[in-house]
């Protein structure tokens, strides 16, 4: 039981912060299918920075390097997201197509540069930056409580970071002046424009925040699930985050619920595979569990959902 909670949480929170990134973009009115590309590109920048600084020799400075990776991933994600923002806002491209193209571009770019950097630094063009696993901590005392204690046992360092960032992101979205304007942009940009606020600017920033948060989530996945940066980072988590934010009705609170559900479904699936002593070739079938769950939830919840009214609409001042 404990292992399900520990592993589930470790998966759910990075997913959650990526989904919040998606919420920022979509609540501002920009459809964002590019989360997958953002998280991959962000993680790539973070991993590349660590590799460049340490030349593969991280012994003794793992924690410091983890924070370096976080910082660079956030910046990398935000900068890469500008591409989506540029295409969708000033150039008025179709937002769905832009998102899909950016995902493909991210896979190609990061694979190419990973092997180039590796061949320069190590002389071997491998497609992987080895990172290791993020440090963990256990809260003394509380962790002894049955079941509840599991939430405080073997916690990855990134978990509290994500919680703080998520709280701050909720405050900005729901309490701050910027958040009020951002959410208004997703409902009726004309109203925002008439109120004297620059719609394009608000949306541009929202998409960049989306990239920054995705980069953060991406590097956390790289430091936990895969212990490295490689093309295997593109395993559909970005799309899972989109599914989570849709079940969460584009609201941060319910989205957390959806992410936890996905996280626990995934870790429970692994546990199940262990208990049933399935061959490792069969464990792949367990990997589909979150996606099957997605399909089921889609059937039941889609009808009651209400996306932002101006989502995906290109803002054109002149249109009546």
């Amino acid at each position: 039981m404990d292992i399900i909670i520990i592993e589930g949480l470790a998966f759910a929170l990075p997913l959650f912060i990526i989904a919040i990134g998606g919420i920022y973009s979509e609540r501002s009115g920009i459809t964002n299918l590019a989360l997958e590309g953002f998280l991959g590109f962000g993680a790539f920048i973070g991993a590349a920075a660590v590799t460049a600084f340490t030349r593969g020799n991280v012994a003794g400075i793992e924690v410091q390097m983890f924070f370096v990776a976080l910082l660079f991933s956030v910046i990398g994600g935000a900068v890469f997201a500008m591409l989506h923002a540029l295409l969708c806002i000033p150039f008025k491209a179709n937002q769905v197509i832009s998102g899909v193209v950016i995902n493909i571009l991210a896979v190609a770019l990061t694979a190419f540069f990973t092997s180039q950097i590796n061949s320069v630094i190590f002389g071997k063009p491998t497609n992987k930056f080895v990172l290791g696993v993020c440090e963990k901590f256990t809260v003394p005392g509380i962790s002894k409580i049955p079941i509840l204690g599991a939430f405080f046992t073997d916690v990855y360092y990134y978990v509290p970071i994500i919680i703080v960032v998520a709280l701050f992101a909720s405050y900005v979205l729901y309490k701050s002046r910027f958040g009020l304007r951002l959410r208004a942009c997703g409902d009726n940009p004309h109203a925002v424009d008439a109120a004297g606020v620059d719609v394009s600017k608000v949306r541009f920033i929202a998409v960049m925040i989306s990239g920054a948060l995705s980069g953060l989530g991406g590097i956390c996945f790289a430091y936990s699930i895969s212990t490295s940066f490689s093309p295997s980072i593109y395993a559909g988590y970005g799309f899972l985050a989109i599914a989570a934010l849709i079940f969460g009705n584009w609201k941060i609170g319910p989205t957390l619920g959806a992410c936890l559900l996905f996280g626990f479904a995934r870790s429970a699936g692994y546990k199940l595979a262990q208990v049933l002593e399935l061959a490792s070739t069969f464990s792949d079938i367990i990997m589909i569990l979150p996606y099957v769950l997605t399909l089921l939830l889609l059937m039941f919840f889609s009808s009651t959902n209400r996306p932002p009214r101006a989502l995906g609409e290109i803002y054109d001042k002149g249109k009546r």
């Binding site: 405050y171 309490k175 002046r177 208004a184 409902d187 009726n188 008439a194 009546r320």
Partner: protein, 510 residues
């Protein structure tokens, strides 16, 4: 010179294919209600959009309080204390009234003592006070999606007052309101003037101008025709100047000449989505050369009758026959081909494809036939020829002729296009639903003449309208619907407007 708060001198604005404003100069005094009168597409809204910074004039100058200004954005207009209530409200639907009003000028507060945030509580109070002061009662905590159209309009007015606007522009404010709401709004406008605000009222309704305005500028096809003192001018003079020719308020009608029955509706029953009966056992018939008008207050099942006859919604009981053939279960196209023309109430949703060209829209009910379509391939030339001919014959005005996107056309010309298309079908039955809704005098006159011409040409006309004057003026036979039932059917000459009004309110026939 100082008495003028707004001066617009020699303003010219061109859009592709149209000169929206041609050397227009107006001067507005502080504290007056100044009306801008003109037909749809005369350039009233464009002129005011320039004052509000949404467009910039190609030529000309704007002076506010005697100072020359260049207004490049609504934000700048707001700084100059100019506010505007747009025809289409600009409100965030899932926000509260307060949130909508403060958007863009949010009063600051501290969240948890240190994080900058928006002071919603304080704003709620402030908005409540503001709304009381101007007699615009609203509940600041209510969400826009839960309030009525007239309340939304009040929110728009409050938005201007919150921004301390001194010059208030109202763009066709009464188009969406009921008669009582209109009276109330006009009171508010007078109240605002009395408290020192300058009001600019864009409208094409003469009675409103007569009721509240002090002076009135009349535009016709982008040009300023004149500026009048309202008190000393008759509505007739204003109407003539606006349309640019003599307007007759009276409808000239030839004696009726009825032929055989075309449409027969027997025991028609229609259910809505919730399974409720909205049309209950309605029977009537329409003959050739007859205008059968259905009167009724909005929402009493009239629209459903029309939709059931044209096949847009299914009939759950009764029969509909055209020239003796039962069409109760036929498809929409079958009915069109069998001889039904339909001018729907919602011309933008049902009547037109707004992003298609005028030529395509004009051929919308014929495109599948020769010469428009030969062996499954569309023939562009046929579309063009047909479009050009109709534009010519029905005087449809548009920026770029047949290739104009219908969305960019004025409401009156959109309606002309639909009427042209439907008349060209040469159907035996023509159904007009609210054919003059939202149109100005000139366009209304035109549509009425078309309807009468079709009747005199021997077609059967079913007219559904909420305008009692229109029904009394045009109909040969009047039926009144109330709560889904047809209360009374009688020849028009046996009924007075008052009697029809009583039936509309549900007073049963003896």
């Amino acid at each position: 010179m100082d008495e003028y708060i707004v001066e617009m001198r020699h303003i010219t604005k061109r859009f592709p294919g149209v000169v929206a404003n041609d050397d227009v100069s107006v001067s507005i005094k502080k504290g007056e209600i100044f009306a801008l009168l003109g037909e749809n597409g005369a350039g009233k809204s464009t002129l005011m959009s320039m004052l509000f910074g949404m467009y910039e004039p190609d030529e000309g100058e704007i002076f506010i309080r005697g100072k020359k200004v260049k207004i490049t954005s609504p934000a700048q207009a707001t700084q100059l204390n100019i506010g505007m209530v747009h025809q289409h409200f600009k409100l965030v639907e899932n926000y509260t009234i307060t949130e909508n009003i403060v958007l863009g000028q949010e009063p600051p507060s501290r969240f948890m003592g240190f994080l900058p945030s928006v002071d919603i509580k304080g704003s709620n109070k402030k908005i409540a006070e503001l709304s009381k002061r101007y007699g615009l009662e609203v509940d600041p905590r209510k969400k826009i999606e839960d309030i009525s159209v007239s309340t939304r309009q009040r929110v728009e007015i409050l938005k201007m007052l919150y921004r301390e606007a001194e010059i208030l522009i109202f763009d066709e404010p009464t188009a969406v309101l009921t008669p009582q709401e209109i009276e109330f709004l006009l009171d508010i406008i007078r109240e605002l003037r009395n408290s020192g605000k300058t009001i600019i009222l864009i409208t094409h309704k003469l009675e409103e101008i007569k009721k509240v305005a002090d002076r009135c500028a009349i535009l016709n096809r982008g040009k300023l025709v004149g500026v009048l003192d309202v008190a000393s001018t008759t509505t007739k003079t204003m109407a003539n100047m606006m349309v640019g020719r003599e307007v007759s308020f009276k409808i000239e009608k030839n004696p009726a000449n009825f032929g055989p029955e075309v449409l027969n509706v027997a025991g028609l029953t229609v259910k809505n989505q919730d399974g409720l009966q909205v049309v209950k056992n309605v029977s009537f018939s329409v003959r050739r050369g007859e205008i059968f008008a259905i009167a009724g207050v909005s929402g009493n099942g009239q629209i459903e009758v029309a939709d059931a006859i044209t096949g847009l919604i299914p009939a759950s009981g009764g029969t509909i026959s055209l020239n003796g053939n039962d069409i109760t279960n036929s498809g929409v196209r079958e009915r069109t081909v069998a001889g039904i023309s339909y001018i729907p109430e919602d011309r933008q949703e049902v009547g037109l494809v707004l992003d298609f060209s005028l030529a395509e829209n004009l051929a919308m009910k014929k495109y599948f036939r020769e010469p428009f379509c030969e062996k499954g391939i569309l023939n562009n030339e046929a579309f063009e020829e047909h479009g050009k001919r109709l534009i010519e014959e029905y005087d449809i005005r548009s920026g770029q002729g047949i290739s104009t996107t219908v969305r960019s056309m004025s409401g009156g010309n959109q309606q002309k296009a639909i009427v042209a298309r439907e008349i060209e079908l040469s159907s035996e039955l023509m159904i007009f639903v609210q054919p003059t809704r939202g149109l100005d005098i000139g366009a209304i006159e035109n549509i009425h003449r078309q309807i009468l011409a079709q009747r005199d040409a021997g077609r059967a006309i079913l007219l559904i309208s909420l305008e009692l004057d229109e029904i009394i003026g045009l109909a040969d036979t009047i039926g009144v619907m109330y709560n889904g039932e047809m209360l009374n059917i009688a020849p028009a000459e046996t009924l007075t407007a008052n009697q029809v009004g009583e039936y509309m309110m549900g007073v049963k026939a003896e």
